[in-house]
Subunit: 264 residues, 2 copies
């Protein structure tokens, strides 16, 4: 009987070991090229969509040295901190908060939550993700993890190559694309513990929002936004992990960010 | 006796479990803000050192919208792909090879090897890291791991804030800073399996090199360089892991890179 219980203990240890061994591999796998990494970053080019206002300029690229094929061997570029896939540092909408070079690296690594409201947005380009969308997501997938980055899939990512569809201007020149609601931002900031939020179009506030309420709430709380995020349809609702690596401009209000999603 | 052997087996399992559990934590720890991350990236500013040639320009920043404090709420910048902490894509010196947007994310995650030749470089600013420096490092720390990024600590990182010391020009305007030797580059490319190399000054070729032999060898093999890498003196010779996240310029010859070193 004692032998039997010892054998059971042994078996229990073997069993409890197994998942740990698997987990143990994930770190090694990540740095040995063996984990799936989804690049959530659009490439930057002179045709990349940009916000059509007086501070909006296309990405500008000069080839300084040409390779024989005509490809650049060296180039120089000019760009707004907020063009393409980028991060808004808290200082963008909250004077005195962190600039882009001041966000601690650890604050840019965290679990990804993807809330897919793309079908609602397809029906209504002015849709805002509401509190209930978050609660519905949690009912299905469990509580939003600690230190999550909450990404809204509006379906806009697939329009990136077509700047007119991406901007979706009406006859008055008013853009129409979806965003977070203020109540959703309040919930995430006050009742969950998140690192930041992100979206697959120009702005975490929808185009027709006035006074950027979501920017004020999230940047105001010292948190970042990711905008023009690519490939959200390639991520699971939960279980991916983000690495956000913005260009380190001293005192910058934001900047181009490379976003890698690790999907174990 | 049999009971004793079962107990021994149990103990062996407990023992073999322990390091696996620790390993298991590293992935979770990384994405929960619990691992040490060293930022190997210098901040970009108008005083950042740049290569003094006709294609060299200072980092240029315009504030488009000011916060009440005077801090930028929105900015636009102009920069060479090869200013500050940056990655040379293979196409920089090898026509037809990968541009910066074309390097697979998995090829930018790997173990770091840091070869400290800073005392030799302090004695001779034209020093090149030779084959024997690599063999000496391996004699002490073991073989260079598969898929490593091999970083040369020349001691130049600490001069970054002093552009004159960083450039170290003689009376004829010739810069003097150390680099890799061609024989070291050949060894790493042909006899080891590396992802790329990096250095804490302007160039993986020393300043007085002619025709950039190291660029031709490493880019020619389809591998990348990291230049102006910061904080190499904060890394162990082995045991750190690098995440390299360059700005994703379509067809670019290189670009500013955020480099995070994870030091478990």
């Amino acid at each position: 009987m004692r032998q039997f219980s010892i054998i059971l203990t042994t078996l229990a240890l073997v069993t409890s070991c197994a998942p740990k061994e698997k987990e143990g591999d994930r770190f090694e796998e990540l740095f040995h090229g063996e984990l799936k990494i989804v690049d959530l970053t659009h490439p930057l080019s002179e045709t990349s969509p940009y916000w059509p206002d007086p501070n909006g300029y296309a990405f500008d690229y000069d080839t300084l040295i040409k390779q024989p094929s005509g490809a650049p061997g060296m180039g120089r570029y000019k760009v707004s901190e907020h063009l393409g896939t980028h991060m808004d540092a808290p200082i963008h909408f909250a004077d005195g908060k962190s600039s882009i070079d001041d966000i601690a690296p650890n604050e840019m690594f965290g679990p990804a939550v993807v809330i897919d409201v793309s079908s609602k947005c397809a029906a209504d380009a002015d849709y805002v993700l509401v509190k209930q969308d978050i609660l519905d997501w949690e009912a299905e997938h469990g509580p939003i993890p600690e230190r999550a980055i909450v990404l809204m899939n509006s379906g806009w990512g697939n329009k990136w190559e077509d700047a007119a569809a991406y901007k979706n201007e009406d006859e008055k020149g008013q853009m129409h694309f979806p965003g977070f609601s203020a109540e959703a931002a309040e919930l995430l900031i006050k009742e969950r513990n998140i690192l930041g939020i992100g979206i697959d179009n120009f702005s975490v506030d929808r185009a027709i929002a006035t006074d950027f309420p979501v920017h004020l709430i999230v940047n105001g709380a010292g948190k970042f936004h990711l905008e023009n995020v690519a490939n959200l349809d390639q991520l699971p609702p939960t279980g991916a992990y983000l690495i956000n690596a913005p260009i380190k401009i001293e005192g910058g209000s934001g900047g181009q960010v490379r976003i890698f999603a690790v999907v174990p």
